[in-house]
């Protein structure tokens, strides 16, 4: 029983990680007042670059950073359009959602002999599990109950023996929360998102802040993509991201544009995924239709949203381009 619960918690953490990164990206961009519907495209870009760099270099950390960088570059386009040229931010984001997968699959075909799937990352090239060896060592060297506590498929092992990305994601949630609510730059970001004109009057560079936030948003979405392609699986393929970016977007709105709120919403989606895996196992105690179970978090989200009435939560200047002269 306890092991079952641990399995579900562990799997939840695993599946929610890519969403958490990407939703954090959404939180940063939208708090500065720029809608980022292009998360899906940026995530796809990150997933491809991550898998490709990991395949060629065998270094997961380099791959992870490259994924963030590539997606941030894609986000730069969104920033140029929506900050400098006062674009319709939704339209620009939609463009990113065509460009991201387009570029990723184009390059995939170039690098991998016409395949829309990258080759599997070699052993050691995927995200390491920081506690994996420690748990093995402990289970072998501690005697009796203490040793058994760290055995494979024990409660501790099931929950904490995770890819490094899982821990990085959780730390990132805290970091983004800290920056947004406890630092000067965070205050500036939120000021720009709420009332850019006042912020400008106070000498805050609205353009600079928004550029920074949109690119940071892309970086996090890229991390999210890499968390899929180099941690959960070990390659990139056409259907890998399909929709994760949009779910992250929804989770961010569900979480009321706050990092911790977005995290919980992502975990809800992750938990549903975990339940599908859990009940899908041969050893499952009850047989529930996987399809019906998969629907659950989406239905739940709709129900919860009708309850909280999230009207007033969006940053006030969200989606409104800031123009110094005319305002």
């Amino acid at each position: 029983m306890l092991e079952s619960l641990a399995f579900i918690i562990g799997t939840t953490l695993m599946y929610s990680t890519p969403l958490i990164f990407t939703a954090l990206g959404g939180v940063i961009s939208e708090n500065s007042g720029v809608i980022n519907i292009g998360l899906e495209g940026m995530m796809t870009m990150g997933a491809f670059v991550g898998a490709t760099v990991a395949y060629f270099t065998g270094n997961p950390w380099l791959a992870f950073l490259a994924a963030g960088l590539a997606a941030a570059l894609l986000a730069l386009l969104h920033a140029v359009a929506s900050v400098t040229y006062s674009a319709n931010q939704v339209v620009s984001g939609i463009a990113i959602n065509f460009l991201g997968p387009g570029i990723a699959l184009f390059l995939s075909r170039m690098f991998f002999d016409g395949a829309t799937m990258t080759k599997p990352i070699p052993l050691g090239g995927t995200m390491p599990r920081p506690f994996h060896n420690l748990f093995i060592w402990l289970s072998e060297n501690l005697s009796g109950t203490a040793g058994r506590m760290f055995e494979s498929n024990s409660v501790i092992d099931l929950i904490f023996d995770q890819d490094a990305t899982v821990f990085i994601a959780l730390i990132s949630v805290f970091a983004v929360w800290f920056v947004l609510y406890k630092t000067k730059i965070g205050l500036r970001i939120r000021a720009v998102g709420e009332h850019p004109k006042s912020a400008d009057t106070l000498g805050i560079n609205v353009t600079k802040i928004r550029y920074f936030c949109v690119m940071a948003s892309g970086m996090f979405a890229g991390f999210g993509g890499a968390a899929l392609s180099i941690a959960i699986v070990a390659n990139f393929r056409q259907t890998l991201v399909s929709g994760h970016g949009f779910i992250a977007l929804a989770a961010m709105i569900f979480g009321k544009w706050k990092p911790q709120g977005a995290m919980w919403a992502c975990m809800l989606f992750g938990a549903a995924n975990a339940l599908v895996v859990f009940f899908g196992r041969a050893a499952s105690p009850i047989q529930i239709s996987q399809q019906l179970l998969s629907m659950l978090p989406y239905i739940l989200t709709l129900i919860v949203l009708t309850g909280i009435v999230g009207r007033a939560n969006a940053p006030k200047a969200l989606g409104v381009p800031y123009e110094k002269d005319s305002n």
Partner: protein
């Protein structure tokens, strides 16, 4: 007064032309970026475009394929454009398409009726179901203030899993295949579907090259319905009170409310109609082309592509028809360069992304145009 009206229509005409100009320039830039991408990757862009061109217009059956591919895009494009007019962003056309396709496949298989009744009944059921699906998002927005983007994203996934659930039911699934049973021939919109495989039909087609070319494909009546619906949408928006109210809500919610228009009601109405249009896209896709629905591993993208179609079409009914045809042609032609040159077909996505990107920033195009004309002016001087 007459002068005023004349000026007004002139300004509107100019504005339309201006919009069209920006769209055409965006499309041009899309092709430009596409050729640069191909050239950088080591392919001859002129050859690629030549192959695409002959791959689209070279044979009658190619053109038929483009039309078949464009049909659902016209309707999802209309669906999204219609919601845009009311200020709603219907990201849920994808899910409404899925529901429409599912209901069409079920009603097409289970109901037994003569074709003259069967087809309208199936379309009506599919459109109604999808209208309700879209209406849920409208209702949630009107009643609880739930953002339609998040509601429709959720509804897309629910629709996907619902389809997968229903298709795997014993009564629905074709034994040992990940698809539903084929619809009854009475529900099919495919032209001469039965006749073209009979001996008599084959013999006739052997002598008639043009007909043979077209009927090799699942060419179907969907395109006629799609164009008729485009006209209907244009008429509703332009010439009815309903259209006027919807547009008023889209332009300024508060002003509309002040003028006595029920904003909530119109949000729901817009989503119902938008959903019905996307649902019919799914229905025609099944009745005309696939004849069944399959288990979905991922979203198929008809709804998402419809967003680009609506944007490139300037959210007007006529614009959507042309942009869907362009989209369908690019997609179909793109597969040809993969086969002939080994050039990634995804260059099409890059082109479409570029087009939409530049449509988002008319201001940049204006600046570019101004610079361009200034330079020319200097050259002349």
């Amino acid at each position: 007064m007459k002068l005023f009206n004349e000026t007004k229509s002139k300004i509107i005409g100019l504005f339309l032309k201006e919009n069209l100009k920006f769209t055409l320039i965006s499309i041009f830039i899309g092709f430009l970026i596409g050729s640069i991408t191909l050239a950088v990757a080591g392919f001859n862009p002129f050859r690629a475009y030549a192959i695409m061109f002959s791959g689209v217009f070279g044979r009658l059956n190619y053109i038929a394929w483009v039309i078949i591919r464009s049909t659902p895009l016209i309707l999802t494009g209309l669906s999204i454009a219609f919601a845009f007019k009311t200020g709603l962003f219907n990201i849920g056309a994808e899910g409404q398409f899925i529901i429409g396709a599912l209901v069409a496949a079920l009603a097409g298989y289970f109901i037994q009726l003569p074709a003259i009744l069967h087809i309208p009944v199936v379309i009506l059921l599919a459109a109604s179901a999808a209208a309700l699906w879209g209406g849920i998002a409208g209702y949630l927005k009107a009643k609880f203030g739930v953002h339609e983007v998040i509601a429709t994203i959720m509804l897309n996934w629910i629709a996907l899993y619902l389809t997968n659930f229903v298709v795997t039911l014993e009564a629905v699934q074709r034994p040992a295949r990940p698809v539903s049973h084929n619809i009854q021939p009475t529900a099919s919109l495919m032209f001469f579907q039965q006749w073209k495989v009979t001996e008599e039909g084959r013999a006739w087609l052997l002598d008639n090259f043009l007909a043979r070319e077209i009927l090799r494909t699942p060419f179907n009546a969907g395109i006629l319905f799609a164009v008729i619906l485009a006209v209907v949408v244009w008429y509703i928006l332009k010439h009815t009170t309903l259209g006027y109210e919807l547009k008023a809500v889209g332009l300024n919610k508060h002003a509309a409310e002040y003028a006595g228009i029920n904003v909530q009601k119109n949000i729901v109405r817009a989503m119902l109609i938008s959903g019905a249009l996307a649902g019919m896209a799914g229905a025609f896709h099944v009745l005309g082309n696939t004849q069944r629905v399959a288990i979905l591993a991922a979203m198929e993208g008809f709804g998402f592509n419809g967003i680009a179609v609506a944007l490139i079409g300037g959210s007007t009914a006529i614009g959507v028809v042309f942009s869907a045809l362009l989209f369908g042609a690019l997609q179909y032609g793109g597969t040809k360069i993969q086969l002939a040159l080994g050039a990634p077909t995804e260059v099409i996505n890059i082109m479409i992304g570029t087009i939409v990107f530049f449509i988002a920033i008319p201001r940049l195009i204006k600046i570019l145009l101004a610079k361009f004309s200034k330079k020319r002016g200097e050259d002349n001087a």
